[in-house]
C-alpha cells in the first residue's frame, strides 16, 4: 500500500516598496507600493489569485467531489491570509469551502513566514500561536502538524515543536539526511519522544513543481498515467509518498497553457485506479504509520536551492547584517506598548526579504532573480535598511514617551490630606 500525501505551501510576503533615505523619519508606510508592478502587494495577490489560487482551488474541489478519497493538506502563511482578507476575500472563501469538505487539512507555521526558529525561540512560539489563532478564526480548525518556513529543520526545531504539542513535522528528504534510506517512511527526530517527521520525496515533487513544462527533460510531457506509474512503483517498498510543493506551481510557476491544471484534474482517479494506492492528509499519515527509523539532523536543512540549507537567506554579509538588525530590536520591541510598531517589525521578519538579498550566482541570473521584485540584491538591502533606520527612530520615540510616562507615574499622587 502506498499513500500519496500532498502538501501545498501558500504564501505571499508583504514586499517593501522603494523606501528611500528621503522617507526615513518622514513616513512609515513601508509596504504600500501601488505602482502596479511586482512591488505592489495588492496587484500581486490579485494576479496570483486569478492565475493560481482560485482556478486551482476549483480543480481541487471538483476532484474531491468526484473522488471522495482524494485528500490534500495546505499551509497558508498568516501574512498571506491577511492579504487575501484585505485584497481578495473570495480567496479565503474558496479555501474555507475546501476545508469544509473534510478532505482538506491545514498545517501550522509561523504567522509571518519568518526565520524566527533560528533567531528567537520566544518570537518563534509567539508567531506560531498567532498563526494557530488565525487558522481557527478563519477555518474553525486547529492544526496538529507543523511545517516550518521553507521546511527549515533540525533536531532542535523538532524538539521545540514537539514541546508545543504537535504530533508531526515536515522536512526536506535531503540526501545528506537520509543517505541510502527512503523518504517514503516515517522517521523519529533525534532527541524527541513521539513526534513524527514526514520527509519530502523531492524527486517526484520536483517532477511536478520544476520539470513539468521542461521540454528538454527526457520524460516530457508528464502525464497523469505516467506519474501514477511512478507512484505505484513504490508499492511494497514504501508507505507514504510526500509530494510537497509551492501551491503557486499550479498556474503561476507552471502556466495554464502547459496543461498543469489538466494534469491535476486527472491525477486523483489515475492514482486511485490502482487499488493499492490512496491519498492521506499529513495527520492521517502520522496516525497511520509508525516510525521506521531515526533521523539525526544537527544542522539546519531546508527545501531551498540546490544546497538545501540556509544559504538562500543568510549566506552573505548584507543578508546577515539585515537579519542581525531586525532581531537585535527584539529585546526593545517586546516591552513597548505600540502594536503597530510591533506588527511592522514582524512583517519585516518574513524570509522573502532576505531571499531577495541573496547574491549566490547573482551574476549568472539564477532563480533568486526570477522570484525577486527588485532589480538587484543590493536594492533589496537598501530599501530594507532604510526601513530599519525609520524603525529605530520610531522605537526611540516610543521608548522616550514611555519613560516619560513611567516617571510621571513614579511621582506620588497628591493626597487630600497633604493639601
Amino acid at each position: 500500500m502506498s499513500s500519496v500525501c500532498f502538501y501545498f505551501q501558500v504564501h505571499q510576503p508583504m514586499r517593501i516598496k522603494k523606501y528611500r533615505v528621503f522617507d526615513v523619519g518622514q513616513n512609515s508606510d513601508y509596504f504600500g507600493d501601488n505602482s502596479g508592478t511586482s512591488l505592489d502587494n495588492k496587484f500581486i495577490v490579485e494576479k496570483v489569485a486569478n492565475k493560481c489560487y482560485l482556478p486551482a482551488n476549483r480543480v481541487m474541489l471538483e476532484n474531491i467531489k468526484r473522488n471522495p478519497n482524494f485528500k490534500v493538506s495546505y499551509s497558508i502563511s498568516g501574512i498571506a491570509l491577511e492579504q487575501f482578507e484585505k485584497f481578495y476575500p473570495e480567496v479565503v472563501d474558496s479555501f474555507r469551502e475546501l476545508v469544509n469538505t473534510g478532505n482538506v487539512e491545514i498545517l501550522s507555521e509561523t504567522y509571518y513566514h519568518s526565520l524566527a526558529s533560528i533567531y528567537s525561540r520566544e518570537e518563534f512560539e509567539h508567531q506560531v500561536k498567532m498563526h494557530r489563532r488565525k487558522v481557527r478564526d478563519l477555518f474553525g480548525v486547529t492544526p496538529t502538524v507543523f511545517r516550518n518556513t521553507e521546511l527549515i529543520y533540525n533536531n532542535e526545531i523538532a524538539r521545540v515543536v514537539e514541546e508545543m504539542g504537535y504530533k508531526g513535522i515536515l522536512a526536506e528528504g535531503a540526501d545528506h539526511i537520509l543517505g541510502w534510506r527512503s523518504p517514503t517512511f516515517i522517521y523519529k527526530p533525534t532527541g524527541t519522544q513521539n513526534i513524527k517527521a514526514l520527509l519530502k520525496h523531492y524527486k517526484l515533487s520536483d517532477d511536478i513543481a520544476f520539470r513539468f513544462s521542461e521540454r528538454s527533460w527526457a520524460e516530457w510531457p508528464l502525464t497523469a498515467p505516467k506519474f501514477a506509474d511512478w507512484v505505484s512503483a513504490h508499492n511494497g517498498n514504501g508507505q507514504v509518498i510526500n509530494l510537497f510543493m509551492d501551491y503557486e506551481t499550479f498556474g503561476e510557476h507552471q502556466w495554464e497553457d502547459t496543461g498543469i491544471f489538466e494534469f491535476l484534474r486527472h491525477l486523483p482517479e489515475t492514482i486511485l485506479a490502482n487499488p493499492d494506492n490512496d491519498f492521506v492528509t499529513v495527520s492521517e499519515a502520522v496516525d497511520r504509520y509508525d516510525f521506521m527509523g531515526e533521523i539525526d539532523v544537527p544542522y539546519h536543512t531546508s527545501w531551498a536551492d540546490m544546497e538545501r540549507d540556509l544559504s538562500a537567506w543568510a549566506s552573505n554579509d548584507i543578508q546577515r547584517e539585515a537579519l542581525d538588525t531586525v532581531y537585535s530590536m527584539e529585546k526593545d520591541i517586546a516591552y513597548i506598548d505600540d502594536p503597530v510598531l510591533q506588527e511592522d517589525w514582524r512583517k519585516l521578519q518574513t524570509s522573502d526579504h532576505f531571499y531577495y538579498m541573496c547574491t549566490k550566482f547573482w551574476a549568472d541570473g539564477d532563480v533568486h532573480k526570477y522570484f525577486s521584485p527588485y532589480e538587484s540584491p543590493y536594492e533589496a538591502f537598501i530599501a530594507y535598511m532604510n526601513v530599519m533606520h525609520d524603525m529605530r527612530l520610531r522605537l526611540e520615540n516610543v521608548k522616550k514617551k514611555q519613560e516619560h510616562e513611567v516617571s510621571l507615574h513614579k511621582m506620588n499622587p497628591l493626597r487630600f490630606s497633604e493639601v
Binding site: 533615505v21 554579509d317 547573482w362 541570473g365 543590493y378 536594492e379 537598501i382 532604510n386
Partner: protein, 415 residues
C-alpha cells in the same frame, strides 16, 4: 588594424581599448600590425607598429594629446588652439584634414603589410580603412566605440556623421561595443542589422597596489567619505547630475567630499555650478590624472559614480572595481550590459543615486559586499573573451572572401 591613439599616448578610452584588444588578439595567435597616424616611441611588444607619417616623431605625450584629442565634440571650445595650429602647421590644418592625410597614406601601409583583414576604430580611422580596402580588397571591419551622437547629443557634426555612415556602409562587418551602440548604428545610421555584431570590451587585470594619496587619506582619517567622479567632464558624462546628487547627499552626510578627476569642456561650468550651490569646500578638482595617480584615487574612494547620459561602453567602472571600490553606473551605459555586482540608476534619477550612495557610505557590509563580489565579477570580463569573438568573426569573413590565397585559420595578418 588602424588606430588613432595608443597608450600611454592617449586621451581616453579608445586607446585603452585598442591596447587591450590588440594584446589579447596577439596572445590568441593573430598576427597583427597596428597603424597609427604619427610616430611615437611605443614599447608594446605584442604587435608590430607602423606609422603613416614617419617624418616627425612625437616624444612627449602632451604633444601627441594635443594632436589626437583636438576633438571631443564639435561644440568643444577649450582645447589649445594655439598649440594645435602650431602642430598642424606641419600636420594639416584641422582635425578633419589630419584624418584624410591618414587615409591618403593608408594604401601605402596596406601595400607594405601582408594582411587578410582590415580592422579600424571609430570615425577618425574609417577613411583610412576605406582607402586600404580599395587597395587590397580585403574585408573591412569597422569597430564603433562611440558614435557622433554619443559625443554631441542631438547637435551633431554632419561631416563626421557622414564619415561614420560611409564607414558602416563600406564595412563587411561592424563591431559595436554594446547592445545600445548596435541599436544606435542600426536606427540612426540605417544599417542592416545582420551586419552589426556586439563585442563587449574587456579589462586588463592589474592589482591596484597604490596607496591612497596622503591628503585624501587625511580627510578619510577625520571621518570623511569620498565620492568619486572620473572621466572627461563633458555633457555625455553627466557632471551636472553628479553635482545635484552631491548637494542632496550633503544634506544627509555632511562629512562627504566629492573628488573630480578629469577635464573637459564642461569643467568650468561644473566648477561654477558647484560654487553657485555653495559646495566649493566639499569638491576637490584634481584635473586630468593617469596611471598610478588615477589608481590611487580609485582606491581612496568609498564609491565611484558614473552618471553618464550616454556611454557606449565605459571601461572605467571596471578598472575601479578592480581597485575594490564599489561603483554606481547609469543604466544608459553599455558597461551595464555586462556587470551585475554594481549599483545602477537612471542618469536623471538623482534621488535614486543619492539613496544608493548614502546606503553605501552608511553600511560597511554593503560596501564590502559590493567590492568583493564586484572584483570577482570583473575578473570574468577579460579581453580574451572579446578576442575570441573577434577571431570567429574574422573567420566568418575569411570564409566569404576565399579569393585570397589560403591562410590557416587563426593565422591572421591584420592591417
Amino acid at each position: 588594424m588602424f588606430g588613432w591613439e595608443f597608450p600611454p599616448y592617449n586621451s581616453g578610452g579608445l586607446g585603452v581599448a585598442c591596447e587591450g584588444m590588440s594584446k589579447a588578439l596577439s596572445a590568441s595567435g593573430v598576427n597583427l600590425t597596428f597603424a597609427l597616424p604619427y610616430k611615437v616611441p611605443i614599447k608594446a611588444r605584442w604587435c608590430k607598429f607602423v606609422f603613416a607619417d614617419e617624418e616627425v616623431e612625437f616624444k612627449n605625450s602632451k604633444e601627441v594629446m594635443d594632436y589626437v584629442s583636438g576633438y571631443t565634440s564639435h561644440t568643444s571650445t577649450n582645447f589649445n588652439k594655439e598649440l594645435i595650429s602650431k602642430i598642424s602647421g606641419m600636420k594639416g590644418n584641422s582635425l578633419m584634414e589630419r584624418v584624410f592625410l591618414y587615409a591618403k597614406k593608408a594604401p601605402s601601409i596596406a601595400s607594405k603589410t601582408v594582411h587578410s583583414i582590415i580592422h579600424v576604430h571609430d570615425w577618425l580611422t574609417y577613411p583610412a580603412g576605406i582607402e586600404a580596402k580599395k587597395f587590397s580588397k580585403r574585408p573591412l571591419v569597422t569597430h564603433i566605440h562611440a558614435t557622433e551622437y554619443d559625443r554631441s547629443g542631438e547637435d551633431i557634426n554632419k561631416d563626421i556623421f557622414e564619415i561614420e555612415k560611409e564607414g558602416f556602409r563600406k564595412a563587411d562587418m561592424i563591431v559595436a561595443v554594446s547592445g545600445r551602440t548596435r541599436k544606435s548604428v542600426i536606427e540612426r545610421y540605417r544599417i542592416d542589422p545582420n551586419k552589426v555584431k556586439v563585442v563587449h570590451n574587456g579589462v586588463e587585470f592589474e592589482n591596484n597596489q597604490n596607496s591612497v594619496p596622503l591628503n585624501i587619506q587625511d580627510l578619510k582619517n577625520k571621518g570623511n567619505n569620498i565620492v568619486l567622479f572620473a572621466g572627461r567632464i563633458t555633457f555625455q558624462k553627466g557632471p551636472d547630475y553628479f553635482v545635484s546628487m552631491a548637494e542632496k547627499i550633503l544634506s544627509f552626510e555632511p562629512n562627504t567630499y566629492f573628488v573630480i578627476s578629469g577635464s573637459g569642456d564642461m569643467e568650468e561650468s561644473m566648477i561654477r555650478d558647484v560654487s553657485r550651490r555653495g559646495l566649493s569646500n566639499r569638491f576637490i578638482f584634481c584635473g586630468f590624472l593617469r596611471g598610478d595617480e588615477l589608481s590611487a584615487v580609485y582606491r581612496a574612494a568609498d564609491i565611484y559614480v558614473m552618471p553618464s547620459v550616454s556611454e557606449p561602453f565605459g571601461i572605467l567602472p571596471l578598472e575601479v572595481m578592480l581597485s575594490d571600490t564599489p561603483v554606481l553606473i547609469s543604466k544608459e551605459s553599455g558597461v551595464s550590459e555586462v556587470v551585475s555586482c554594481v549599483l545602477k540608476s537612471n542618469f536623471w534619477d538623482v534621488d535614486d543615486m543619492t539613496d544608493k550612495v548614502i546606503s553605501v557610505l552608511r553600511n560597511k557590509k554593503l560596501h564590502s559586499q559590493l567590492s568583493i563580489t564586484g572584483k570577482k565579477e570583473v575578473r570574468t570580463i577579460h579581453w580574451k573573451k572579446a578576442a575570441d569573438s573577434l577571431i570567429s568573426l574574422y573567420n566568418s569573413l575569411e570564409e566569404s572572401n576565399k579569393v585570397v590565397e589560403f591562410i590557416p585559420s587563426l593565422e591572421f595578418a591584420i592591417a
